[in-house]
């Protein structure tokens, strides 16, 4: 069994009248057990650079959709800058849909600022949102050579059997969707939670010589994730962070 430990030492010889010396070691285990946690992203390093200060934006470090919710996940992030005034602001997706609190970043909830050299280590619930889901029903008369186009992928019907065409559509790989098939109905599920997607036949386009159709029906409305982790640099000229995710 893997053993992963995280040790923190907080020390000060002069903050209090007596010395502050606090040290804790956590052996990282899976949620509610004594079994060692077994997955990690590895340590990564990235520099964020923007064209000017006016276009600095947030970027996502970890997407909740990629991990299991409500586990004993831990995230480490470090600001490698040595310029005291440079900081990263760390956010979670939040409830700030509007700027009602005077928040400069509506839509996000700020955790805090990591100034030069600072690091953080926090638990992460990885609560995702709901993935948009829709179906495409292949019906009526299709012919070999008819096409279905979606998400940049074109499927050319090999024959005229609707179940076979649905199977072909399912077998294709889509950048932003995963699929399953039942008879002549293909179900598309978004890879990531998103409240801003609505697919219809202008995006999922069936082109047939006869009266073949590929009716689109939304079956699950998507919602945004509520705990993606975002990072935003304070300057546009290039700031570097390091991070690691330890997860279940």
């Amino acid at each position: 069994m893997a053993t992963t430990t995280a040790t923190i030492t907080l020390s000060s010889s002069d903050l209090l009248s007596d010395e502050l010396a606090l040290s804790t070691t956590a052996t990282l285990t899976t949620a509610g057990t004594s079994t060692g946690i077994t997955q990690a992203s590895g340590l990564s390093r990235k520099t964020l650079t923007y064209g000017s200060s006016g276009v600095i934006d947030t970027s996502v470090i970890y997407r909740a959709d990629d991990y299991t919710a409500d586990k004993a996940n831990k995230v480490y992030i470090k600001n490698t800058s040595s310029t005291a005034a440079e900081f990263f602001t760390i956010f979670l997706t939040g409830d700030r849909a509007t700027d009602v609190h005077g928040n400069a970043d509506p839509g996000l909830t700020e955790i805090g600022r990591l100034y030069a050299g600072d690091w953080m280590f926090m638990p992460w619930c990885a609560t995702s949102g709901t993935k948009e889901t829709f179906t495409v029903t292949i019906a009526n008369t299709w012919a070999a050579g008819d096409t279905f186009v979606f998400d940049g992928v074109t499927v050319v019907a090999a024959d005229s059997t609707v179940n076979n065409i649905a199977a072909q559509i399912d077998a294709a790989q889509y950048p932003n969707w995963v699929t399953s098939v039942s008879g002549a109905v293909v179900t598309f599920v978004a890879r990531y939670s998103n409240a801003g997607i609505e697919i219809d036949t202008t995006e999922a386009v069936s082109t047939t010589a006869g009266d073949g159709t590929g009716a689109v029906a939304t079956t699950v409305e998507g919602t945004r994730s509520v705990s993606d982790i975002y990072i935003k640099p304070s300057v546009h000229t290039g700031m570097t962070y390091e991070t690691m995710l330890i997860h279940e």
Partner: protein
């Protein structure tokens, strides 16, 4: 008045060893020489059933500063955990023995650090390093 926060992450879960060590001196926002010189230190027992404010956001003095918050779950039963929330958004779960060390923006009066215990009464220790606190008149 330097306070140093150091972390060591060590693991054998990869084919090669993970060994990450880092240390930072806790400074006031944007300063290379002015240390965070105020702190609160506490230890509390958190009963189940209610989400409590562990730290109230004193944003008048701490908004967008370099606050640091340490929370450790000192419980020993591995099934015990607390859920940490900021501004109604769940950060994550601290199981028995786990700790966290985060910056805290305290961006408005609702950005409290909240805590709720599960499974049983959890014993929590915490420290808040900050730039000031508005004291309540007697």
């Amino acid at each position: 008045m330097a306070t140093t926060a150091s972390i060591t992450l060590a693991s054998d879960l990869l084919t090669d060893a993970i060994s990450v060590s880092d240390s930072t001196t806790c400074m006031k926002a944007g300063s290379a020489s002015d240390d965070l010189d105020q702190m609160e230190l506490g230890c509390v027992e958190i009963a189940t059933g209610t989400n409590f404010d562990l730290l109230n956001a004193d944003n008048a003095l701490n908004k967008d500063k370099a606050n640091k918050v340490y929370v450790c779950n000192d419980s020993t039963d591995e099934t015990y955990y607390v859920v940490i929330t900021i501004d109604a958004i769940v950060l994550g779960r601290l199981y028995a023995g786990d700790w966290m060390f985060i910056p805290w923006g305290a961006e408005d009066a609702t950005a409290d650090i909240e805590i709720q215990a599960y499974t049983g009464t959890n014993k929590i220790s915490y420290a808040w390093f900050h730039e000031g606190k508005t004291l309540i008149s007697a």
